[in-house]
């Protein structure tokens, strides 16, 4: 049956008509931390899609709160097998402003990576006070490519353990030509006390 409104086809044969404009930012999965050691998104598990279905994927991390004070929120990638250990080269620069009015801006060699399998810091030196947390957006491009390295771009902000705002700019690539089929978030120490991470597929 076709559903027609004002002479325009809206629904046809059980799907939206091809002329109906729909959004191309599709919520795939929401994970909510509750004293969680890690939060993992794995293609094919728990309804997660992380393959060639979409051109890029966006993670939105909302109010990520650590159980431990002065720790860093991190991301890592799976490029085969079950380990999150894809080799990465990355950059990290940031601005900060403390509540005592100290400011800074610059590159941070302490938290970039050079051909490393270690996790990449997203939120740096987070506090665990009740109102302290970090938020971020991570875009991962074409993770299923077996030709190109896998670029990712991050912008994050956090309430630091020294009572400061941090504005973080991170980018890099997984220097592998195997597909990335899993992404894992964790803290450098201790659990993710609370917070929400949403995975969206873009395009497709």
């Amino acid at each position: 049956m076709t559903v027609i409104s004002n002479g325009t086809n809206l629904i046809n044969n059980g799907t939206l008509d091809s002329g109906v404009a729909t959004g191309k930012m599709t919520l795939i999965k929401t994970l909510t931390a509750s004293s969680s050691a890690t939060l993992s998104f794995v293609d094919g598990a728990s309804s997660v899609v992380l393959d060639g279905t979409y051109d890029s994927y966006v993670f939105k991390c909302i109010n990520i709160h650590p159980a431990t004070d002065n720790v860093s929120f991190q991301i890592n990638f799976r490029d085969g097998g079950t380990n999150y250990d894809a080799t990465k080269t990355t950059t990290f620069f940031r601005a900060f402003h403390t509540e005592a009015d100290a400011t800074g801006f610059g590159y941070a060699t302490a938290v970039d990576l050079a051909q490393s399998t270690s996790s990449q810091t997203i939120n740096w030196n987070l506090g665990n006070g009740n109102d302290e947390s970090g938020c971020s957006t991570i875009q991962l491009f074409n993770p299923s490519s077996t030709t190109f390295v896998k670029h990712f771009i991050v912008r994050s902000t956090d309430y630091g353990e020294d009572n400061s705002i941090g504005d973080r700019f991170i980018a890099g690539y997984c220097n592998v030509t195997t597909a990335i089929d899993g992404v894992q978030f964790s803290f450098s120490s201790g659990n993710i006390d609370s917070g929400v991470i949403k995975l969206y597929g873009i395009g497709g």
Partner: protein, 210 residues
């Protein structure tokens, strides 16, 4: 005729009344040894007018045919030439895979001042064709291109793999600027600084405001 379900109007006057998402795919162009990739309002299904207040281009693995080139954008503000006058900023960072080099800096070589030239989006201009796994990915956001009152702001953020000799680097670039015109922008063109775009995909989205 309205379509009403459980007292909720789902559609009326030929359009859905309920939200169907705000990031609407307008057009996908796929490079295949292409000199340029052009998005022109009214051509090939492209919309680039007041239909949306914001337009976003997303670049997926743009790979050049020629070594040591940049990926560029330019804008059409009337006529057929991509030559809108622009003033822009360009900064970014780099980090070598060896870990021995890293920096954050402004790049005067790739900013523009009242120029009609193409704007380079990867500020070191050096993505290599002979690196099969090398490419540029990222996005460019163009605000209110159809305005005839304001200049047309745009912002871009890409990451690229850069090669210099035997060294390879991760290079994020942050570009922003405005087309210093009050004529509408009705076309956007992407090209390499030299040679073709060997492969890659550019997607144009419209961002709804209601």
């Amino acid at each position: 005729m309205a379509i009403i379900s459980n007292a909720v109007t789902m559609a009326d006057a030929g359009a859905f009344s309920v939200g169907l998402g705000s990031k609407v795919l307008i057009k996908t162009l796929t490079a295949s040894t292409s000199g340029t990739l052009n998005f022109v309002h009214g051509a090939s299904g492209v919309v680039l007018d007041s239909t949306y207040p914001i337009y976003k281009f997303e670049f997926i693995n743009m790979h050049p045919a020629t070594n040591s080139v940049g990926f560029t954008v330019n804008f059409r503000d009337g006529g057929t030439a991509y030559d809108a006058v622009k003033t822009t900023t360009s900064f970014g960072a780099y980090h070598s895979e060896s870990g021995s080099e890293s920096s954050l800096n402004y790049q005067t070589a790739t900013d523009l001042v009242q120029s009609t030239a193409n704007q380079t989006l990867n500020f070191y201009n050096t993505v290599n064709a002979n690196e099969a796994d090398s490419s540029i990915s990222g996005s460019l956001t163009l605000f209110n291109p159809s305005s005839t009152v304001f200049v047309k702001h745009f912002m871009s953020n890409v990451n690229s793999m850069h090669q210099d000799g035997t060294s390879r680097y991760s290079v994020p670039s942050y570009i922003a600027g405005y087309n210093n015109v009050t004529a509408a922008i009705d076309g956007v063109q992407f090209a390499m600084t030299s040679g073709n775009i060997d492969s890659g995909k550019i997607k144009l989205y419209g961002i709804k405001d209601s």
